[in-house]
């Protein structure tokens, strides 16, 4: 039975990674990357590697989205003139 869960999670990670590559808008890609991070953590847990799963969760759930979204925000504010950015 434990092979079935590996296959299921592997398929999900493959699909999510493809979706992350196909998505071109950075803000939406950050969303897909966040979901990919959670699925990768599940994959590492299923493959009996909890330390790596913990690292993926710690970094991928809150830190990476925050960094990406702050960059997206900075680039968007640079594009727009001053008045509605405040």
């Amino acid at each position: 039975m434990s092979d079935a869960v590996i296959v299921v999670v592997l398929l999900l990670v493959a699909a999510c990674a493809t979706a992350a590559v196909v998505q071109r808008d950075p803000a939406r890609q950050a969303l897909v990357l966040s979901v990919l991070g959670v699925l990768l953590a599940a994959l590492f847990t299923v493959l009996q590697a909890p330390d790596v799963g913990l690292s993926q969760l710690a970094v991928g759930s809150a830190l990476t989205p925050l960094l990406i979204m702050l960059c997206v925000r900075k680039i968007r504010r640079r594009g727009r003139p001053k008045e509605d950015a405040r």
Partner: protein, 150 residues
């Protein structure tokens, strides 16, 4: 044939597919809700896996996901608030069903684990998961309306 791993497979497969479909298609409001759903779909699965593999150390993974998942959703809710449509993204039915499923999984595990420190830890993870899920939905449904400066 370990029932816990089977339950985890069903949770991961069903929840994962729904989340994946939700986060890749549709308006940004629905995508952020799907991202929020990812936490409340995978965290019970991690708890079930830790019981299925007989390794209580894996509960730390579910604990961390229950803690940091909603924080990730708060990041998106706050920094995407001008993309979300004016009335925000609210899917309370989905939130409560996800919370209910999570609670059911935690209760089942508590029964299996029996009273003791491990059971209290499971309850802590369950409480964090459900409160985080509800608060993240509240944030998505317009919690950051007063935020202009980011």
């Amino acid at each position: 044939m370990n029932g816990w791993i089977l339950a985890a497979t069903v949770a991961l497969g069903g929840g994962g597919a729904a989340v994946l479909w939700g986060v890749t298609t549709g308006p940004p409001a629905r995508r952020v809700i799907a991202q929020n759903l990812a936490t409340s779909a995978v965290c019970p699965a991690l708890l079930l896996l830790s019981q299925g593999y007989g390794r209580p150390a894996y509960v730390d993974l579910a604990l961390l996901l229950a803690l940091l998942g909603p924080v990730g959703t708060l990041v998106f809710a706050r920094l995407l608030c001008d993309d979300l449509s004016e009335e925000g993204a609210s899917a309370w039915a989905l939130t409560w069903t996800a919370a209910g499923l999570g609670a059911a999984a935690v209760v089942a595990l508590c029964v299996a684990v029996g009273p003791g420190r491990a059971m209290v830890k499971l309850l802590v993870v369950g409480a964090l998961l459900i409160s985080g899920n509800v608060i993240a939905s509240r944030a998505l449904a317009g919690g950051f309306r007063g935020v202009r400066g980011g």
